[in-house]
Symmetry: C2
Subunit: 252 residues, 2 copies
């Protein structure tokens, strides 16, 4: 069962290179974990093309459905970096040279042999009214407009930006989670686990089968924003396993 | 620029465990690579919750927009495996015990100490009119209904199912791709690369910055379904790099 007591979020990865398989996305998993730890429920993730119409329609559809939208990718200096103007269009605002973003880029490139040319200056162009998101790695900021947080695609930069964002947004109750492993096939556990889940509200149990050197087993993940419910359900799962004459392991 | 000469596809990963960050998705990257190698263009990927309404609305929205939809996850024996009935509902058909699926499960479990109980029998329930997708790993089949291919979530099983599917569907022209690395910041290359892309149709160039031990550089990926266009554009990129007084490396 799902709970309404946590803010919800969606993650949008923008980049042809992920859809071609050339780059394996690492941002969704990272964002998912960080949000989970902070009591925000990631309800959907999408990977979309560097295509203006697609970005606009996706943002327009998603931003109304969740409390927070996070995007990664497409805010660099090259021709295929079209996230900023596309998101501005989605909210019907113009893009303008942002003085503070410009100052940060000038500061960053000062004393290097890298020229702040017109391509790099593009990274100081920010939708009107948006708030900057700090980039402690390479200066060029992300931005926040409405409930949309626009981050870089490079994982190291995205992670640093997300750290900053998470200091300033509203969290929900943290989800408690207990993972239990046993050497019982999920087909044998199915009935009992289904019954345990039905006994409580605000409880979610997932079963994930595994096969290791000829042994079949299942990891059972019990989740709730209520610690008592989580513990109680985990105890029932342990009893179920013992009733099968097997032992269990709590996994990290 | 995009080309219309390849069939298009979308990938839908169904699973709360991916959105909670507990499981890192490996299926999207795999499917993306396989499709790329087979001339099918992956235009979007989504990760959605094990939630009936969400699965139904996502499938109903997506199946009209692309030539092929691939899903992974949620076809096992436990209470949280709700993909099959949800997709049946999306196409307004009933789910029935499939005789061939049942035969495969019986065959698979015969002579093992695993009981084909009611939970496992659920895996023989298939939407009416759907075609089975072979599962050479653990027997329980996926299925194909309309243009939607429903696969297991366990990567090893999903990969085996996809292998089978790809033998039977229509391919497009293969995409040719050349990746070129150089030690030039993408901000310096931006103008030149943008100009090269504009000179050709059916050409897509992506720029991906990297930072290694204090050196900044860019990987430039040139892609086209036309080999001549791909080679010609790659030559122009190489010339651009040489004009900067730098060398390039072709990367795999």
């Amino acid at each position: 069962m799902t709970s309404n007591k946590q803010p919800t979020a969606a993650m949008i990865v923008i980049g042809n290179e992920v859809l071609s398989g050339r780059t394996k996305d690492k941002n969704i998993g990272w964002v998912a974990e960080q949000l989970e730890q902070n009591g925000i429920k990631l309800v959907e993730a999408r990977i979309i093309r560097d295509d203006q119409e697609t970005i606009i329609s996706t943002i327009k559809e998603i931003f109304k459905l969740v409390d927070y939208v996070f995007t990664s990718g497409g805010i660099g200096p090259t021709h295929d970096d079209i996230t900023t103007p596309s998101i501005a269009k989605a909210f019907d605002v113009s893009v303008e040279r942002n003085k503070e973003a410009l100052r940060r880029l000038q500061e960053h490139y000062k004393g290097t042999n890298i020229e702040l040319n017109s391509a790099r200056l593009k990274m100081a162009d920010i939708p009107k009214g948006a708030t900057l998101i700090d980039n402690p790695v390479s200066a060029a900021p992300g931005f926040n407009i409405q409930n949309v947080y626009v981050m870089a695609g490079v994982p190291k930069i995205m992670q640093a930006m997300l750290d900053g964002i998470l200091k300033n947004i509203k969290f929900g109750k943290k989800t408690f989670s207990i993972s239990i492993a046993c050497e019982i096939g999920e087909g044998n556990l199915a009935k009992g686990i289904g019954e345990i889940e039905e006994t409580e509200s605000d409880l979610e149990i997932g079963c994930y089968p595994w096969f290791k050197s000829g042994v079949i087993g299942t990891n059972i993940v019990v989740r709730s924003i209520n610690e008592d419910i989580c513990n109680r359900a985990a105890d029932k799962v342990k009893t179920l396993i013992i009733d099968f004459g097997k032992t269990f392991t709590i996994i990290k």
